[in-house]
Each structure stands twice: as C-alpha cells, then as structure tokens.
C-alpha cells in the first residue's frame, strides 16, 4: 500500500513537470510581441523593446524556462504582466470561491448521483427509466446553456438571486449562499446526470454477481447485502466516476464564473487568456493540474484501501 | 492399435518459461523438460489436472507458448522456434481444436468465412474454396446451409463440429485437441468423440488429445501420458495406464474419477481412501 502511494506521488510530480514544460513552451514560443500588447499601439518602439527586456522576453526560451522552474520551486510564479500582482497572490485571492463551488458541487453530485444511481439499479422499473432519461437530458445540455437559462429565469425575470456575484472580501455568509446557489445548481445538473448513469451501471454489474445470490441464500437481509457488500464493491468504480467529474468541474467553473460574474480562478483564467497575460495562464494551469493530481491520488489511495489485493501489499 | 515406425511429432526435454511481470520479476517455468512422441495415425492422450501444464504443452507445439529449452520436431523438422512464415506453411499439417466452442469461433464471421480463412492463406479461394467448405461441413455432419450463418446460431456441440471442420480444412497430419469435449454435455461429448474417431479412420490423422478426464482419454487414445506439475510422470499403452497405472499420482487420478454405479463406486471410494491414507496426499 505504502509503495503504491509513493509510486503514485512520484508519478504525480512527473506529470506536473511534463505539463509545466509543455505549457511553458507552448505559451512562450508563440507569444508574439508582448511588450506591444501590454503598452498599447501608442507606445514607442523603444518603450516596447524596454518592456520586452524587462520581462526577460529577449532571452532564449529554454533559459527563461529554467528561471521559471527555479523560482517556481521557491513558490514564486512571477508577476502578472498587466497588473504587476504576483501570480500566487492573484490565484490565492480567487481560489477560495472556486474551491467552495467545486467541493460543494462534487459533494452534492456524489450524494445525488449515488442515491439516484442506486435507486435506479435496485428498483428498476419507472425509477430506472426516469434516471436514464434525466441523465441523457442532463448530459445533453451544455453547462453554459444551463447557466444562462438559470440566470435568465431566476435572476433576471424573478430576481430571486443576484445575477452578478456579491462575493467580495468580507462578504456575509448570506451573500455567499445567494451568489453561489445558481452557479452550483448549474454545475451539479451536468455532473450529477453523468455520474448517476455510470453509478447505476456499476451497481447493476455488482448486483448480478454470483456472490450476491449466495449471500441471499445465507439469510442475509437485502438491506445488508446492498449497503455492506454491493456498495463496497461498487465504490471503486463510483469513486473513479466522481474523480472524473471533479476534473470536469474544474473546467466547468471557468464558464460558470464568467456567466455569474464570480471573481474566481476560472474568471481569472478567461481574463488572462483574453489579455494574453501568460504568467497568470501558466500559474492557473499549474494550480489546476496540481489540484487534480492531489484528488486523483486521494482516489487511488481510497480505491487501494478498498481492494484487499492491493491493501495487503 | 496402429504400429508406426516413423514419428510424426517428437518433443524432447521441452522447457516453457513465461516471462515474469515487471522488469526484474523472475520468469515462471511451466514445463520442466517434457518428452513425448506421436506416430502417424496415432492418438496420444495427455491427461492431468488444472495447472499441470498440459495446455501449455499443446500451445508450445502450436507456437503459442515460448519454448525456452529442448526441441519440438514435426515430420523430422525442428519447429521449436518456427517463424510466422514457417508456421504458415506448417499450418497445412498442424491444426488445433480448442476447448471452448463459444470463443474459438469469431462471432462476427459467417461459418463459410471461418472455414475458408485457412484455405485462403494457402491460396485456395473462390469456387474451389466454397466447394471445399461444403465437403468439410458434410464431413462433420453439418448441413451445407450452415455456411451463411454466424456462430451464435449454433449450439455448443455444433460449434465444436465447426471448429473440427476448420481444423480439417487443410487435411492436416496432426490435430492438437485441447480439452475439446470438456465444455460439452454428456451425449454431445459422445457424438464429438465418435466424430473424431470416424475422421481418424477415414483420413489417418494423428491427435494430441489433451484432457483432464481419464475416461475420455482412455476412450480415444492409443497411448497416454500423465502430467503432473509440469512433468510427465507416466506414459504407455492407453488401457494399461488408465486402468492399471504404476505411478501413485495416476492411481490417485483413476481412483478419484467416479464410476456410474453405486456399488462399484463405493468400492472405488474405499480403495481411494486406503490409497490416500497410504500415500499421505495433502488436501488440495
């Protein structure tokens, strides 16, 4: 088990490194005239050249990448080209909203999808059909369309919720709840629909196992079979489904934050992309991938623990 | 019983080792120096329990398992490490019938395509091939219209007949039969065994007949080799080995297979318990 964890950690660091190299090269090789973009059309050639030198853009790409890595290892991801705000600060200031949305959403998705998936698998009949139809419908609608519909209906027309996030530093809990309700609903609909269908099939697969019939023949109650044996065996599949949903949510917040004008990491990413603020883009990519790697590691450990063949080692 | 002078298949000191998983893992040696020979028109029964290596031996002969020591000679030629090209030529004379008739036929192909595939490799196509397929189906007592159907339309016994027809397509000299009847019902098993005997009478093919069932092996073989833990522990005349064996393991196998009569079975059980007590075999 310990060896598995160590192997996964090493592999995670390797992934982070590879992603960093690729992203850095991709971003900076095709960066173009950055000084001109920052200073605008009116700036003189000299000023632009000076800006480029200041940003170190006249140095070879590989050298710059080396510099970036050596400061990144010390926790310094550079500064925004446009606001001069350190990248780490810019991200950390916005990370809390994003993480709250993502973790609340994944929790709701986990509960809703598990309940719906199990009900569909066990009851079959109309419950099953309802879950299947809902999951097709839910996964057919793009997240941003759901977001736009929600905002139009509940914020613009009814005014039940704010159309623009009220989350600012020092905002009250009520503001947080009010501002995040619709975005989280938008995120959950997609994810839950997808996950429910997959959890359903994982459960059905386990229910058809021979040992379930044998447990029944031993006088074990249906409830115990379901919640002790089948749930346990279907859990690894379910966790994997949820970890993929989690990765999806990190992408989903980018769009949702823009729709609901939430100042989170996703919004930061969109703005930086539009402006061409490469240090920020680089930083956001690194943070997101790191979060994904940590979550995947946690899922691997949980799955390893659930599997006696792995746990023994 | 056929007496033969020249051997068709000769296996000497065969060692098969599967590479271990992972970079530094040690390989697993399945066969530890196995020798056997089969004459023309002869059936050698190879009997043993699961995991003893009997299937691996068959696969090594067919080139499906890695030969790491010893040699396999077929028709006087060393085929231990035959290339794919040589195998292609060899497939004319050396064929196979597998255990599971449900996975040994490609579910997406028609019976006609399945049977003409080996013909196509040897350059027989078109009308010639169709005529051959018809003859083959007839030989295994299947209707000609089976040609245009797919495997799932047939029962296990029928599929096994088709697999036998595929093996016969190129009129081979040796067919490796890997547990060909163990997935079949009793009466179907009897029909397939009858068919194999009939084919041998007609075209003089040799069989390497691999099975876990001593009764099946006794019925179909001229000679029998008994395998245990990757080695051959006893071989000789089929009736002798399967009714009055010398080796304690063969004896144990014989006494463990139940006979369909209560009183004789009770006697055999007593004999087995006495034998086990004397030999002190541990529980499996």
């Amino acid at each position: 088990m310990l060896r598995m964890i160590i192997r996964r950690l090493v592999s995670g660091v390797a992934v982070l490194f590879v992603v960093a190299v690729i992203t850095f090269l991709m971003l900076y090789i095709s960066a173009g005239d950055v000084g001109r973009r920052i200073l605008g059309d009116q700036a003189s050639e000299e000023a632009v050249a000076a800006k480029n030198t200041e940003l170190g853009l006249d140095e070879p790409v590989l050298e710059r990448m080396g510099d970036w890595f050596s400061s990144a290892l010390r926790g310094d991801f550079g500064k925004s080209w446009f606001t001069n705000e350190p990248v780490v600060d810019a991200i950390m200031n916005r990370l809390d909203v994003t993480l709250v949305m993502v973790f609340v959403s994944i929790t709701i998705i986990a509960v809703v999808a598990t309940v719906a998936g199990i009900t569909a698998a066990v009851r079959r009949g109309w419950a099953d059909r309802a879950v299947q139809i809902a999951s097709i419908g839910g996964s057919a609608l793009p997240g941003f369309v759901i977001g736009v519909v929600l905002i139009n209906f509940f914020a613009v027309q009814r005014g039940w919720f704010p159309a623009v996030s009220r989350i600012v530093p020092g905002a009250s809990v009520g503001d947080w709840v009010n501002s995040l309700t619709l975005p989280i609903i938008a995120l959950v609909i997609n994810g839950a629909a997808n996950a429910a269908a997959q959890i359903r099939s994982a459960f059905i697969k386990q229910l058809e196992m021979d040992y379930v019939r044998t447990l029944r023949s031993r006088g074990i109650s249906e409830r115990e079979i379901l919640f002790k044996h089948v749930l346990r065996s279907a859990a690894p599949a379910g966790l994997t489904v949820l970890s993929l949903q989690f990765i999806g949510l990190l992408g989903g917040v980018v769009v949702i934050e823009s729709i609901f004008a939430i100042a989170g990491m996703g919004r930061l990413a969109v703005d930086a992309t539009t402006q061409g603020d490469l240090p920020i883009v680089m930083g956001v990519v690194m943070y997101t991938v790191a979060i994904v790697i940590i979550v995947n590691l946690a899922v691997d450990i949980a799955n390893g623990w659930l599997n006696p063949k792995v746990r023994a080692r | 019983m056929n007496t033969t002078t020249d051997e068709l298949l000769q296996v000497d000191d065969l060692v098969v080792t599967y590479a271990g998983k992972g970079m530094f893992a040690k390989g697993v040696e399945i066969l530890h120096g196995v020798s056997l020979r089969i004459g023309r028109g002869e059936t050698l029964g190879l009997v043993g329990e699961s995991g003893c290596g009997k299937t691996t031996l068959g696969r090594a002969v067919l080139g499906l398992a890695p030969v790491t020591g010893g040699r396999i000679e077929f028709g006087g030629k060393d085929i231990s490490h035959a290339t794919r090209k040589e195998r292609q030529a060899l497939s004319r004379d050396l064929q196979v019938v597998f255990q599971d008739p449900y996975t040994s036929l490609n579910p997406a192909m028609t019976i006609g395509d399945i049977l003409s595939e080996p013909l196509g490799i040897q350059g027989i196509t078109g009308a010639d091939a169709r005529q051959r397929v018809r003859t083959l189906l007839d030989r295994v007592h299947m209707p000609v219209d089976a040609m245009d159907r797919v495997p799932r339309e047939f029962s296990g016994g029928q599929r096994q007949r088709i697999a036998i027809a595929r093996a016969l397509a190129l009129e081979p000299k040796l067919i490796v039969c890997d547990e060909p009847v163990s997935a079949l019902d009793l009466s179907t098993q009897a029909r397939v065994l009858d068919l194999l005997l009939e084919i041998q009478e007609n075209i003089g093919v040799s069989y390497l007949f691999i099975s876990h069932d001593l009764d099946v092996v006794r019925h179909i073989s001229h000679r029998v080799s008994v395998m245990y833990a990757g080695e051959i522990v006893e071989d000789g005349d089929a009736t002798k080995v399967t009714t009055d064996p010398d080796h304690p393991y063969t004896r144990r196998l014989l006494l463990a297979s139940p006979v369909p009569d209560p009183d004789r079975q009770a006697a055999r059980r007593e004999e087995r318990l006495a034998h086990t007590a004397a030999m002190g075999f541990e529980v499996a």
Binding site: V15, L27, I136, G137, P142, G143, V148, L207, Y211, T214, R216, S217, R218, I220, H229, R232, S233, I247, G248, L250, G251, V255, A269, V270, T273, M282, N307, K309, A312 | G63, L64, R84, F98, S104, I121, S155, G156, G157, R161, D185, L186, S187, Q189, A190, R191, D194, L195, L197, D213, D215, H219, A256, S257, P258, V259, P260, D263, R269, V283, A284
Partner: protein
C-alpha cells in the same frame, strides 16, 4: 459441464434455434428505435442545413447593420431578428451549423486517429509501448480540458480548428482506453489463437478479427465525443474566446446573453440549436449502444427478484398425510415471458420428493431445467421468471402454493439460510472478494442463529476443520483470492451447513473442481450429511457423482421429468430411452476406440 448457471436465461436445446436467422444489423436496429430515429433525423437535418447554407441563408452572416440592431423576429426581412451588430440571426444560425458540425467531426476524428491505432498496438502487443502510452494517457486525463484550451487560445489566438484539434488530442485517451480494453479482451480469445495457428500475420489478424470488435464501441464513443466537443467549443465562443469572423452558435448565445435585458429572444434560437444538436449526438450514442446490447441480449443476465412480491397471506394447509415430507415439489412449472407475449416454459410439470436423510440427484443436460428447479425451491429465480403452475411444500408448509405466479419472498425469507441452504457451482465467484472468509461465515450465523460473534467464530473454526481445512484460523483471516478453488468450495460447503439447515440445495457443487478435489469434496459432503441427517437436492450432470452420493435420481430433459427412482434402478435398469442414451454416453467401462452411439453423426449434436 456446459450448464452455466450464472446465465439464468434458459439455454437453448441442442439442435434447436437454427430456424430464424437474425443478422446483426446495427443500422436497422438503430432506426427501429424511436430515439435512434429521432437522433438520425436531427443530425441529418443539421448536415443538410450546413451543406445548403449558402443557398438557404437569406443574408450574409457577417454583414453588420447599424440601423437594424437587435430587432425582433420578422422585422425588415429578418425572420428571426438581428443581433447586437445588426447581423441576421437566421443566416448566422444556418452558417453556424457548418462550423458546429465540422468542429464536432474534427475533434472526434483527431481523437480516433490518435487513440485507435495506439490503443490497437498497446492492446495487441502490450510491452513497453503499452507502458509509455498508458502513462501519457493518464497525464492527458488529469488535464482539465477547458484550462488546456484556454492556454492554447492564449498561445495561438482564436481559431476554431486549432482548439478542436487540441480537444481531439484530449479525447484521444478515451478512444485509446476503449480500444485497448476491447483488444485485450479478444487478444487471447481462442479464435485469435486459431488464426495464429493458421499462420495469419499480425496485421491480418488485427484487420480481420480485432478491428471488428472495436468498431461499434468506437462509433458510439465518437458520437458522444462529437456532442461533447460541440458543447465545449461553444462554451469557448460563448466566453468570447472564439474567432469573431466565424458565425457560431456559442458566440450567438454570448451576444444574446450580453443583451439579455434588451432582446431575450435572441438567446433562445442558438440555445435551442445547441441543445438539439448535442442532444442528437448523445441520443445517437445511447441508441447505438442499446442496439448493440440488443444483439448481445442472448447472454444477458437477469437479476434475482427479491422484492416482497407475492401474496403475504398465509398459504392453505398442505394435503393431509404429506406433512412429514421434507420437500415436495408438485407439478411445478416455471417460465419466462417472451417479447411476443407467450411464456417460454423452462420447467414443466415437475414433481418429486425429498425426505430427511436422503440425497436426491437431479440429472440432465444443459437446458433440462434442473438448475431452474433448484432455484425455484430456493426462491432465487431471476425477476422476470414466473411460476406457471404447481406447488412446492417444505416441511408441511407451502412455499409456493397453487395459484402463486411468483415465489412468495415473504415465505422464503423465513427459510433461506435458516432451514434451506445452498451450495453454488463456482467456488470463487460466490465469495465476496472484499470480505474475509471468516466474516462471510460468521455473519450469517450471528444473524440466523442469534449467537454471539465469538461463539460464531468458534463454530466457524470447527466447521472449517470438519470440511478438511488444515489451518482454520488462517483461512478465516484470508480473503477469497488467497485460497484455492478447492478450499473455497469447502468454505462454501461449511457455510451451507453453518446454520443447521434441514435441506441443502447443491447446484453442481463439484463441476468446477479437479477430479481429485471433487472426490474429497464429495467425501466431506457425504460425511456431514450422514452426521446431521438432512435432505440434499444434488443438481449434477455427472452420473459418477450420482452413483457416489445419491439415494434417488430424477432425470430431466427439456424441463420435464423423464423418469425417477432409486439410484440402482435408474443407473442399472433405466426404463426410458433418453436415460439409456445418457448412460450409453458415459465412457467408463466402454470398449476404447469404438463408437459410443449407434445413431451418431446425423448432424444432431
């Protein structure tokens, strides 16, 4: 041995099912499904609109007009009105279909081009390539797609095509995994081995035997991926990150959203278009999968019905004089409803009795209904099974009374595990891999016998010793994967005896075992049965097993009882032709190298 009880679907009788020919025709099945038809129509119409865009558009999609900004539908010749730049919405929708479909197709194609061949190679050859490719795939899968697209957009500027190629790369792992798994599952199929023996080259084996297995799942995945790509691509355009010169539905939603207070209707058209086309692809994928599963239904399993269906009311008293019989099955019929409304009977008019201290063998070939009969007694039939007639009484009470059309679970729940227990065929698959053997033995005893955990543990250790397990405490602590098949079967036998049942239903309990292990397991079974004097129903196809352990025999064929009687009478002097034929098929005591059956070779096997 071919009676596979895990597939409860009645096996087809020998020589049957050759009449109707059902060709696997995916397309026809797809179109027969209303959802599949709808999906095909939607996508077909979108393709048509995309091709005909220059003809059916009324305006140039990019011509702005400052005078006609955000006007409503029908005004000034703009059927659906105009956007914030005064561009015609209808024409933009039509042209947008082009970009939308092409982008979906591009992403899916890139995914297939990258994922399919690599998956084929990794799955077929394995080795180093597989290791490297699988690691890369894990890297790609841990990237959040939209973030990557943002980074690419930041690097290369707005381009639908570049972002779709990148998206295709991100989807390649899906195709890779799908292909690799499919290939691995067929790589070791015997028909691939047969092709190797025939001397087929690897390239031809892949082309002929392997590609066909991957094709359908890849098409399904492609459909899903196309929908997903469109969804992600339009999200990017919605955010304003797309090419402003290319009319797209995503950008139109964005424009409508920014002007939501002035012309909310502008939101509706592109959103509708997106929802319909993405829904079309998702539906197509689902319908394709259903069509495919339909083809495989032959081997589909059914779940066991354990819902509390069936009348709760007390059953009528049994016929006087039969109260003492342990198990009495009378005129039992069991069937499965077919799609044409008829019921296919798998057990028909079956009657037999089992007394205490008696082992009754049920013998027959696959499809004889012997296992179905056993599962009816246990009440563990698949949930679509119906009782078509007859009754079952256990120790003086009906478990299935005349007129019940299902096995009433309320009655069986009281008996199962307590008075009637079960020994399955496959030792390994019948133990839960996630729990120790000890806990799987102890729990039923605690529950059924109401004894303490420690007491149950002691009992389990004693039981394991009595079934011949050398070191019971160690086996108790082991997980199922740590013991051999023979050991696992002993554990299951110990489990069946653990709660002092009166009747044991053993379904081919030695079929999966080697003969030497079979003999030992039968010894254990006989000894325990002798000691506690219970009744046993022994389902088997092996006359040797019957001779070894049974007192009486019931011979079944095609769901009916052919004959029954004392074991010596049936084995030595069978009355029925079918029993004679079965006994003729046994090999013990036959002249070697001679034909077994006189009527052999009439194409009937």
């Amino acid at each position: 041995m071919s009676e596979n009880v895990t597939t409860s679907e009645p096996a087809s009788p020998e020589a049957g099912q050759s009449g109707t020919v059902v060709r696997p025709n995916l397309v026809r099945r797809l179109l027969k499904n209303p959802l599949g038809m709808a999906a095909a129509v939607i996508i077909g119409l979108a393709v048509l609109a995309a091709i005909l865009a220059p003809l059916i558009a009324t305006h140039d999609p990019n011509t702005a007009s400052l005078t006609d900004v955000l006007i409503g539908p029908g005004e000034n010749g703009h059927w659906l009105g105009t956007d914030s730049a005064g561009r015609d919405i209808y024409s933009r929708l039509v042209w947008g279909a082009r970009v939308t479909l092409l982008s979906g197709a591009l992403a899916a194609s890139v995914g297939i081009v990258l994922g399919l061949p690599t998956g084929l190679i990794a799955g077929y050859f394995g080795g180093k390539f597989d290791g490297v490719a699988s690691w890369l795939v894990n890297v790609l899968l841990s990237l959040p797609g939209i973030m990557v697209l943002l980074a690419v957009r930041a690097a290369t500027g707005p381009s639908v095509w570049i972002s779709m190629i990148v998206l295709g790369v991100l989807f390649a792992p899906g195709f890779y995994r799908l292909t690799r798994t499919a290939v691995q599952s067929v790589r070791n199929e015997l028909y691939v081995d047969a092709a190797r023996v025939a001397g087929l080259s690897d390239a031809r084996i892949i082309a002929r035997h392997i590609l066909s297995v991957v094709r359908a799942p890849v098409i399904i995945q492609a459909s899903m991926v196309a929908g997903l790509s469109i969804s992600i691509q339009s999200a990017l355009e919605f955010l304003g990150l797309g090419d402003p010169l290319v009319p797209t539905w995503g950008a139109m939603v964005g424009d409508g959203f920014r002007n939501i207070y002035r012309q909310a209707l502008n939101l509706v058209w592109p959103m509708l278009a997106l929802a319909v086309i993405i829904g079309g692809f998702v539906l197509l994928g689902n319908a394709l999968r259903d069509a495919l599963e339909d083809l495989e239904k032959v081997k589909a399993k059914h779940r066991t019905d354990t819902s509390a269906r069936g009348s709760l009311g007390s059953a009528p008293p049994v016929e006087a004089g039969t109260e003492g019989i342990l198990l009495k099955v009378s005129d039992l019929g069991v069937g499965y409803p077919q799609s044409d409304g008829t019921i296919k009977k798998v057990v028909d008019d079956v009657s037999f009795e089992v007394n205490r201290n008696e082992v009754v063998g049920i013998v027959g070939e696959s499809g004889s209904g012997k296992s179905q009969t056993a599962f009816t007694i246990l009440g563990l039939l698949p949930d679509n099974a119906v009782v078509t007639g007859g009754s079952i009484q256990f120790d003086g009470n009906y478990t299935v009374a005349l007129g019940d059309d299902r096995v009433p679970q309320s009655r069986l729940v009281e008996l199962r595990g307590k008075r009637i227990s079960y020994i399955p065929q496959e030792p390994m698959s019948n133990l839960d891999p996630a729990f120790t053997i000890g806990s799987q033995l102890v729990r039923p005893m605690v529950k059924v016998l109401g004894i303490s955990k420690d007491e149950a543990k002691q009992r389990a250790i004693d039981l394991l010793a009595s079934v011949g397990i050398p070191d019971p405490p160690r086996t108790m602590a082991a997980y199922p994967h740590e013991v051999s098949g023979g050991m696992a079967q002993r554990v299951l036998i110990a489990g069946a005896f653990s709660c002092d049942p009166d009747l044991i239903i053993a379904d081919e309990p030695t079929t999966a075992l080697d003969v030497t292990v079979q003999a030992e397991v039968l010894d254990v079974l006989r000894e325990l049965q002798d000691r506690v004097g219970l009744g046993v129903v022994m389902v088997t196809h092996n006359f040797g097993v019957v001779a070894d352990i049974c007192d009486r025999v019931v011979v079944m064929q095609d769901g009916r009882v052919v004959e029954q009687g004392a074991v010596r009478q049936i084995l030595r002097d069978p009355r029925e032709q079918y029993t004679k034929m079965l006994l003729d098929s046994t090999l013990e005591d036959k002249e070697p190298l001679t034909r077994l059956l006189v009527d052999a070779g009439e194409g009937s096997a």
